[in-house]
């Protein structure tokens, strides 16, 4: 990150100087720390001290991550567009184009990896955490529906066989979808077992239903 140290009679003057030195258009594009407060001294004659600030170009985390993602996709030789959708604290980067299966991967593995790396890039320089969700061809929504159907099916199996059903390992977000889907079902109980990355859900039929 490019940083310059500039001084001026006042902080405002130093900021103007920094804008010129960093070659940007306005104060909005930079961040600065005041190193030394200016002092007018006595009657502006004795003990005058200039203001000293350290300034650098402000990095927009979303802009950085979009730039990163576009470059990675291009180098993967996939033709896709990136659309930015802001939703409060969360930002969705939505991919569209051909051959998106390459970017999604088996059970979204590639998409999750790209999402993880993009989040790392976005939050590298900023103090404030920005959360980025990556989606392609509405994959996230389709996966949620598929998981809810799977949950329903396996809950029925657990009730019918009166035996525990052990699901395959899933990440926290996917496990949450299953837990939520079955929360209202009073005939079974769900919990997660094992440690990451092998943590998985176990559906247990409840005993009270055995005699009914």
């Amino acid at each position: 990150m490019k940083t310059v140290k500039v001084s001026g009679k006042t902080i405002e003057e130093a900021v103007r100087e920094a804008i010129v030195k960093l070659n940007v258009d306005s104060e909005k594009e930079i961040t600065y720390d005041v190193m030394e407060e200016p002092s007018k001294g006595f009657l502006g004659l004795i003990g005058t001290k200039p203001a000293v600030i350290e300034a650098s170009i402000k990095i927009d985390p979303i802009e950085e991550s979009v730039k990163f993602l576009r470059q990675v996709i291009q180098e993967m030789q996939v033709d896709a567009e990136v659309e930015v959708i802001k939703r409060g604290k969360e930002t969705e980067l939505s991919l569209s184009g051909e051959n998106l299966g390459v970017l999604i991967g088996k059970r979204g593995k590639t998409l999750d990896s790209l999402q993880y790396l993009t989040n790392l890039v976005a939050n590298r320089h900023s103090n404030q955490y920005s959360r980025i969700v990556l989606d392609a061809e509405n994959y996230r929504e389709r996966r949620r529906i598929a998981l809810e159907e799977l949950a329903e099916r396996l809950a029925n199996k657990a009730m019918r066989t009166r035996e525990k059903v052990v699901l395959e390992p899933m990440n926290a977000r996917e496990r949450k979808i299953i837990h939520s889907a079955l929360q209202a079902n009073e005939n079974i109980e769900t919990h997660s077992d094992g440690s990451e990355p092998y943590r998985h859900i176990v559906i247990t039929p409840l005993k009270t239903n055995y005699c009914s």
């Binding site: 990163f68 993967m76 593995k109 590639t110 999750d112 990896s113």
Partner: protein, 76 residues
């Protein structure tokens, strides 16, 4: 492939100028060797290799797409 690894690594580290990727063809597999500044090792490996794992996933997806076999080694 080499550029892909370089792009990802440069975006994650503090010393992008120290990022090097060497390629070597071993039979039908392209072996990429990534080296970064010693202070940046954690930035490309991550807790329990999580970052390295993500870089490899993306790289393998790209390789499969291009019908190639690739391996990634990370060295100091």
């Amino acid at each position: 492939m080499k550029n892909l690894v370089e792009t990802i690594a440069r975006a994650l580290v503090d010393y992008p100028d120290s990022v090097r990727v060497e390629e070597q063809q071993q039979e039908n597999t392209l072996v990429l060797t990534l080296s970064v500044d010693e202070n940046d090792m954690g930035k490309v490996i991550g807790k329990q290799g999580r970052i390295a794992h993500a870089i490899r996933s993306v790289l393998y997806a790209s390789a499969t797409h291009q019908n190639k076999r690739v391996r990634l080694d990370i060295v100091e």
